[in-house]
């Protein structure tokens, strides 16, 4: 392994770690809403700064106990600095909950330092992956309310996370090998170039398949077991007052917003996670609501027309209690990761409603949108919402793509285009090598035909060793026609005059060698050769 290869191998692991981290931060950022920009800022700052500190420390070979001593000092200084800057710049007027945000920043900073440090250590791979994974977990669990994933988005995120985990282990191992080959207590021999004389084509497919199978199996097993380990905790009524006010008032001249999850009687819960950013869900008991409500986002109606709640209210008025609990309703609607955020409808001027009793679903056949715990975003209606009000047409919602999705789509498109162009490039190149597309001198034509031979040999897995002369290569591969081509090429190199017969012999030999070499390998290898670039 040369120094350049070693540098490249050692750089991939930290870069991949940053990719996982930033993608996780973007996912969380997307989950947070407009009113939580300061929280997002604190999270970004803590995570990025902590990771920088951790990786800088490990890059400078600082021992872990030194870092453990330095981290509290750095953290204290950062908090002090942020407070001073806030006061000086005057951000405090926009900063509603500075201490909570600082707490979040610190909560992100400490594990970011530890995991950033561990990301480059020998045995800390899994520990290092926890912090970025915790960010991804927030996005995966967004909307989930039990031992199940919230929807296809969560599955997709988990599969990507599994792939990144395997890729991270792969990159770490590549880095370890690079270090193993270049650093040791005892003296190591100096690396030189590796010469591949022959390599069976198509092995890269087996490698990719193995990695894909590992990713798939890891993902499947984790997705099967992990939800059963998730636990709930009591939710905090964050922003409750604002949401209550918005829900009670509703948009001007319209119905109040539909309740989401919090209620006065049953309380809320959410899945337990390190960073307390998951939205709470209502417990099984749900309150009565006003007669009509509308789906809102930040207090702004975004859903369909107001939903008549009189049937539910009537039931409630009858003293039998509202039909608020729909079996599976929480999971069905909770699975919608793009619901509109809203808060329970509570009129501050009214007394709290009397205790309610859940009734059987049969008592209220159409499940009500407001009665299900989380109908928060209109982007993708859950099945419960569709059933809830058959008279209301499903709302037309815009598909909002996340920047990461844009980026992934762009990268995937670029790769696909590049891959699709390779056969065309090969086709054009081979066409020119066989018969020049423009007039070329004889020696150049001879060189082109030798290149054609080399392409065929490479398709069959033969490589020219460094310094190996064409006749030697031709003798080694023993492909019909190759030696004749090598002979003509040697004559050209030494300035011996060629005539038309030589050029014709070269033509015949090159085509014969190209075909004979390719016939030695299987169909798959021949097909894969059309995707290879460079050709030689």
């Amino acid at each position: 392994m040369t120094a350049r290869q070693a540098t490249r191998s050692t750089a991939i692991a930290p870069l991949l770690y940053w990719l996982v981290l930033v993608a996780g931060l973007l996912s969380v950022h997307r989950m947070l809403e407009h009113g939580e920009s300061t929280r997002a800022g604190a999270l970004w700052t803590g995570a990025v700064l902590g990771t920088v500190v951790g990786q800088l420390a490990v890059w400078r070979r600082i021992r872990v106990w030194v870092l453990a001593l330095l981290t509290p000092v750095l953290m204290f200084a950062a908090v002090q600095l942020s407070v001073v800057l806030t006061l000086m710049v005057g951000l405090d007027s926009h900063w509603t909950e500075p201490w909570k945000d600082l707490e979040l920043g610190v909560m992100a900073f400490i594990p970011a330092v530890i995991c950033g440090y561990a990301s480059l250590t020998e045995r800390g791979g899994l520990a290092a992956f926890w912090f970025p994974a915790s960010l991804w977990t927030l996005a995966i669990l967004d909307g989930a309310d039990g031992p199940a994933f919230a929807g296809a988005g969560s599955w997709a995120l988990l599969s990507i996370l599994a792939a990144l985990f395997v890729a991270f282990l792969f990159a770490r191992e590549s880095r370890r090998i690079a270090l193993w080959q270049t650093h040791a207590t005892h003296r190591l021999s100096a690396p030189r170039e590796t010469a591949v004389l022959r390599r069976p084509p198509g092995r890269v497919v087996a490698e990719a398949a193995w990695l894909a199978a590992t990713v798939a199996a890891t993902f499947a097993l984790t997705a099967w077991v992990a939800p059963h380990l998730w636990q709930k905790e009591k939710g905090e009524p964050e922003g409750l007052a604002l949401a209550q006010q918005q829900a009670a008032d509703g948009p001007a001249g319209s119905a109040p917003c539909c309740p989401e999850s919090h209620d006065a009687q049953g309380g809320t819960h959410r899945l337990r996670e390190y960073l307390p950013l998951l939205k709470a869900h209502a417990d099984d008991v749900h309150p009565a609501a006003s007669d009509a409500c509308v789906a809102c986002r930040e207090g702004v109606p975004v859903g369909p027309d107001p939903v008549a709640l009189s049937s539910l209210a009537g039931g409630d008025a009858g003293g039998a209690g509202p039909a608020t609990d729909t079996p599976g309703g929480a999971q069905a609607s909770g699975g919608d990761a793009s619901q509109t955020r809203s808060r329970p409808v509570q009129d501050p001027t009214l007394a709290p409603p009397p205790p309610t009793t859940p009734v059987a679903p049969a008592a209220a056949p159409p499940a009500l949108p407001h009665a299900t715990p989380a109908v928060r975003r209109p982007a993708s209606p859950g099945p419960a919402a569709a059933v809830a009000n058959p008279a209301t047409p499903p709302p037309v919602r815009a598909v909002v793509l996340h920047p990461v999705q844009w980026l992934l789509a762009l990268v995937a498109s670029g790769l696909l285009v590049q891959l699709a162009l390779r056969p065309l490039r090969r086709l054009a190149t081979l066409r020119h090598l066989r018969a020049p597309l423009w007039p070329e001198p004889v020696d150049q034509q001879v060189s082109n035909l030798w290149q054609l031979v080399l392409v065929g040999l490479r398709d069959a897995g033969w490589h020219a060793a460094p310094g190996e002369q064409p006749p030697e290569l031709a003798r080694r591969v023993a492909v019909p026609g190759a030696e004749a081509c090598a002979l003509v090429l040697e004559r050209t190199r030494h300035g011996v005059r060629l005539d038309a017969a030589d050029l014709e012999a070269m033509h015949d030999g090159a085509r014969s060698a190209y075909g004979a070499a390719r016939r030695r390998v299987g169909l798959l290898a021949r097909a894969l050769s059309w995707l290879r670039w460079p050709l030689v």
Partner: protein, 524 residues
């Protein structure tokens, strides 16, 4: 070549074997006990249960296979070597993953459960794949590994290239092939990694192992093993790649070789050639009574009109002959069971050989007939070997120097004869018998360097880049221990090569005066 001694590896191997299944079992025992969830039990039993059973079955199968084939195993390979599948990273991942699952149960963070399951699932999948694909000799069945050094016979200090040619190595998907080895204790270690894409390929790997160190070597065999691309599991090591290398000594230029001739008295007076009476045509004189009549030069006599006789040609002083003996006898340094761990004994021997060959060449250039004599091992026996030194055939003597090693069988007096002798040794003569010869002393103090100071013990900083296995506390402790032993051995070496200043008069001291130069000084 293992960094950790075998006797210390056994507990580590048992720990790693246990790490394959124990952490997972503990984690799920804790999880099911704490959560009391039927669905969790079901999921674990159906999802991970078959995986564990398959891993356990493969482990047992490998253990049985190792037991059955125990007679065919190479010496030094035990059942634990065959069953040790996990690497350090894999073992760490197993315990970290289990800890994450347990923590997710106790603390409740969902991310811990995801990370823990990622780790455990990936580990068990890779471990199972490793147990299935890398057992026995199957991976090496059709592979060919050849190793050679270029040049095969080098001169001390030259660059030597180690060339490893792999033909059709069978590397399962998801694995890399690793090889590690060195020529000998003083040589650098070569480390190779071959990608799985090179399975079935023909690959030539090269490493620059120079500068060459004097000696004849049967290179230590390479350790070859497979390791997965995630760094979690590995196969047992196999030994391969025997190769030979000869490194001839590079003789230095010797200043002061004339002292050997002047003081030795071996340069005799000129003498006449003992040839036929009729030979000789250059020196003529008048006939004197008593001259051999056969020496009369008749043609000149006719021309000179008097009887002229031819005198025999006078030969230059005869080439003095000397036996140049290399003293490699040292009971303390030649210990095969407990050799000193410092480099000084080898450095001193290299210096002795260099001075020996250098003095021989210097004497040869001054017209002395030199016979190189030393004791070398031939077929396991230490025998005296003599090689005449010729101007155009130095390689024989240099080859003899390449074979020289410390021995405890033949003392210098055993190599001396009636011929004038010069002994190149690390010490002065001990008694009158040895004092018959002249001694060129190569003192260890002048020709060896003390061990390098230990720089691996920096308090605040790691000695190696993070991620390197040499940063492990166990390895650091081992390296510190080795360094301490090296320093102690160097002190012991200094005591062993110390000699009495008696009987130094008339002998010579070899002193390095620069790169490739040696000065001989007469001791007063």
């Amino acid at each position: 070549m293992n960094v950790t001694p075998a006797r210390r590896r056994r507990p580590l191997q048992v720990f790693r074997i246990a790490s394959l299944l124990l952490p997972s079992a503990v984690a799920w025992e804790v999880a099911t006990m704490a959560l009391h969830r039927t669905q969790l039990d079901e999921a674990v039993a159906r999802a991970l249960g078959p995986l564990w059973l398959a891993t356990l079955g493969a482990l047992i199968a490998r253990g049985v296979d190792t037991h059955v084939r125990r007679r065919a195993l190479p010496p030094g390979v035990s059942w634990s070597d065959a069953l040790e599948v996990l690497t350090a990273s894999g073992s760490s991942l197993a315990w970290t993953g289990a800890a994450a699952v347990i923590a997710s149960v106790w603390i409740g963070w969902a991310s811990l459960s995801l990370v823990g399951l990622f780790g455990l699932c990936a580990l068990h999948l890779v471990a199972l794949w490793t147990l299935l694909r890398t057992g026995g000799h199957d991976p090496w069945r059709r592979a060919s590994l050849s190793r050679r050094f270029v040049p095969g016979s080098a001169v001390e200090g030259e660059t030597v290239i180690e060339e490893l040619r792999l033909v059709a190595p069978r590397i399962p998907a998801g694995f890399r092939l690793f090889a590690r080895g060195r020529i000998g204790p003083r040589w650098p270690v070569s480390r190779y990694a071959v990608q799985a894409g090179d399975s079935g390929a023909e690959v030539v790997l090269e490493r620059d192992v120079g500068p060459a160190l004097r000696g004849t070597y049967d290179a230590e065999p390479l350790e070859v093993w497979l390791q997965d691309v995630l760094g979690l599991c590995r196969s047992p090591c196999v030994a391969a790649g025997a190769a030979q290398l000869t490194v001839l000594p590079r003789p230095p230029g010797v200043d002061g070789a004339r002292h050997l001739l002047e003081a030795g008295g071996h340069a005799e007076e000129p003498r006449t050639a003992l040839r036929l009476p009729t030979s000789g045509s250059f020196r003529l004189r008048e006939y004197a009574p008593g001259d051999d009549v056969r020496r009369i030069h008749w043609l000149r006599s006719v021309a000179a009109q008097q009887i002229v006789v031819r005198l025999p040609d006078e030969l230059p002083p005869d080439q003095p002959a000397v036996r140049l003996v290399l003293d490699t006898f040292h009971a303390g340094l030649a210990s095969a069971t407990d050799p000193l761990s410092c480099r000084a004994p080898d450095e001193l021997l290299d210096s002795l050989v260099r001075v020996w060959v250098g003095v021989g060449r210097a004497l040869l250039e001054r017209g002395v007939r030199v016979t190189m004599v030393t004791a070398v091992s031939t077929g396991g026996e230490i025998e005296p070997v003599r090689r005449p030194l010729h101007r155009r055939a130095l390689a024989q003597a240099e080859g003899l120097g390449a074979r020289a090693a410390w021995q405890r069988a033949l003392r210098p007096v055993d190599l001396l004869t009636d011929e004038p002798s010069i002994v190149v040794s690390h010490r002065l003569p001990l008694d009158d018998v040895e004092s018959v010869a002249r001694w060129v002393v190569v003192p260890g103090v002048l020709w060896t360097a003390p061990p390098e100071p230990d720089r691996s013990g920096a308090t605040l900083l790691l000695a190696h880049p993070p991620g390197s296995a040499d940063n492990r506390p166990s390895r650091r402790a081992l390296v510190r221990s080795l360094r301490r032993q090296e320093r102690a051995d160097h002190e012991a070496f200094r005591v062993l090569v110390a000699h009495s200043p008696a009987r130094h008069a008339g002998n010579l001291l070899a002193r390095p005066v620069g790169p490739g130069r040696v000065l001989l000084e007469v001791l007063q």
